[in-house]
Amino acid sequence: MTRSGGLESGRVFVTEARGCVTLQDGGRHGLQRVGVGVGGAMDPHAAELANLLAGNPGEGVLFELDGSSRLALRCEMVTGLALAGPAVPVRLDDHPVPFWARIETNPSQSFTIRIEAELETGRWRYLALSGGCRLTPVLGGFGTDLRAGWGGMEGRVLRSGDRMTLGATPGRPVAYSGRAGFRILGQLSPQLRAPSVTQAPVLRILPGSHWSAFPPEIRQRFLAAHYLVTKNSDRMGYRLSGPPLHPDRPLEIDSEPVTFGSIQIPPDGAPIVLMADHPTQGGYPRLAEIIGTDVGTLAQCRPGVKVEFREVDEQTALQARREWRRSLARLGVGLGSGERDSFRGAALHA
């Protein structure tokens, strides 16, 4: 298959992959009713920005790296890329390339992109290649579900020797064809980046469906105390430690749907926040729900990071969501127009 511009599709060879490197997307929807999880990127905002910067749809397939995972890709006929999440030095051949930037590459020159620096803060990093990875959908989605063993690359983490083809990038401006291997078109201004990594973040919550089953002093404790992210934190859930939170009396919960950001309180009183790969049903009382714009902020907290919770009303949550969608729409318009000045003016600074 060729691109609209007559170019061949990009090809990518994994020359090194260590740790938890998976392909993710915006998640699988519609099959939670039979127990199939949504999954998708752990920091959905960082993933969406990486995709938009690379000229892809926001929910496109991209690489997700956990913690200190390493990844090196040999790229052929690739027209661009973008990195998002907590920044580490990344090299394109021998040159450093920044996070939160749109990087155009010359498709007639193959190159290697290498992410191998240790992360000091934050957890999930994203690499989007223009065109996204072309995969066969499983159950209507492309993302890797490691527990189910499907999606992404054979349902597993990437390893060296894997290869993939990129999709077409409709409507994208003509690829950069300068003599140098790449150019940095611009960098996203800090206020437009995903909330990403902050020290001791305050996570906004809405009351959960068992909120009123908890005595007022427990709810106040939850909102007043600090909680630490523990080592038992993965794509399924983040366990927190801090003052225990017990309901009035033990609650017998009949299995009930839960969502990304649900805060469950098991019998030991230590909260568990359900993350992207959560099971579709929960059996513990749910004290609160982290609002959609803040789940990625928690995802980026590594073990030992302190978090606080602040109750907001639904209007505040909806407003945060709208502002986020609006800033993405502005970025999308800028990126799609092909007019560099407006693109830069709208969302980027060089």
Binding site: H29, Q32, R33, V34, G35, V138, A148, P207, S262
Partner: protein, 224 residues
């Protein structure tokens, strides 16, 4: 609304979801009506509808709140629920699932039989003599929550969940029976194993069971 349905609450599930929760005990009739409500949404999706997810006595709806507000969703769901017939027409199927009971495949059978003051063969005869109905499919892909376990066989959930329950394990907890479609941690008492395929991502639909389906278990000899 039918008196049998008990009271119904509309609860938040984040800003993009809501949860309908019924006060009554989980029961086949409620589950069938929940499925019928979900199928009504599938047939006629309101603006911004993402998906519905059933629970044992609940139903979650995920939506885009900028297309249709929570208040409007509550109104929509209430109006669909109110006119749903008491016994909605659903496509119901029947399955007979072969099970090898006990031994290594059912490490908790002896304990369950002891608790019920039955010998294992009597226990198996009661378990395999019952007709079960799917209340819910979920937790793991294809996992059926089955109502219909005879009261004499009910056991509480294990206090310490197993880290690994083998794929195909047939297990019980309280008045429910289930089949683990894949290896996973689990807190139910495992009484046998089946080769039945509860979920196949390459099949359409991928899940074998749906809410309302009737299930019987057929004891298979160990020697097979």
């Amino acid at each position: 609304m039918a008196a049998a349905a008990g009271s119904l609450e509309y609860l938040p599930l984040g800003e993009c979801g809501l949860l309908m929760r019924w006060s009554q005990e989980p029961a086949p009739r409620l589950s069938r009506r929940i499925r019928a409500l979900g199928e009504a949404l599938d047939r006629n999706p309101p603006p911004g509808f993402v998906e519905w997810v059933p629970g044992l006595r609940s139903l979650a709806v995920q939506f885009d709140p900028d297309r249709l507000s929570r208040a409007a969703w509550v109104g929509t769901l209430a109006s669909i629920w109110e006119v749903l017939p008491e016994n909605p027409e659903l496509q119901i199927r029947s399955f007979v699932v072969p099970v090898v009971y006990g031994g290594d495949y059912g490490p908790d059978l002896a304990g369950a039989a002891h608790a019920a003051r039955l010998d294992p063969d009597q226990w198996i005869a009661l378990h395999a003599g019952a007709v079960y109905e799917v209340l819910l499919v979920g937790f793991a892909p294809g996992f059926p929550y089955l109502a219909g376990l005879p009261e004499a066989l009910a056991v509480p959930r294990r206090t310490t969940p197993r880290l690994r329950v083998a794929a195909g394990s047939v297990a019980i907890a309280n008045r429910l029976c289930g089949i683990y479609p894949r290896e996973s941690p689990g807190g139910w008492s495992v009484i046998g194993r089946t080769e039945w395929v509860c979920f196949d991502s390459a099949r359409s639909p991928p899940a074998c069971f749906a809410i309302g389906d009737q299930v019987r278990f057929h004891p298979e000899p160990w020697s097979r």
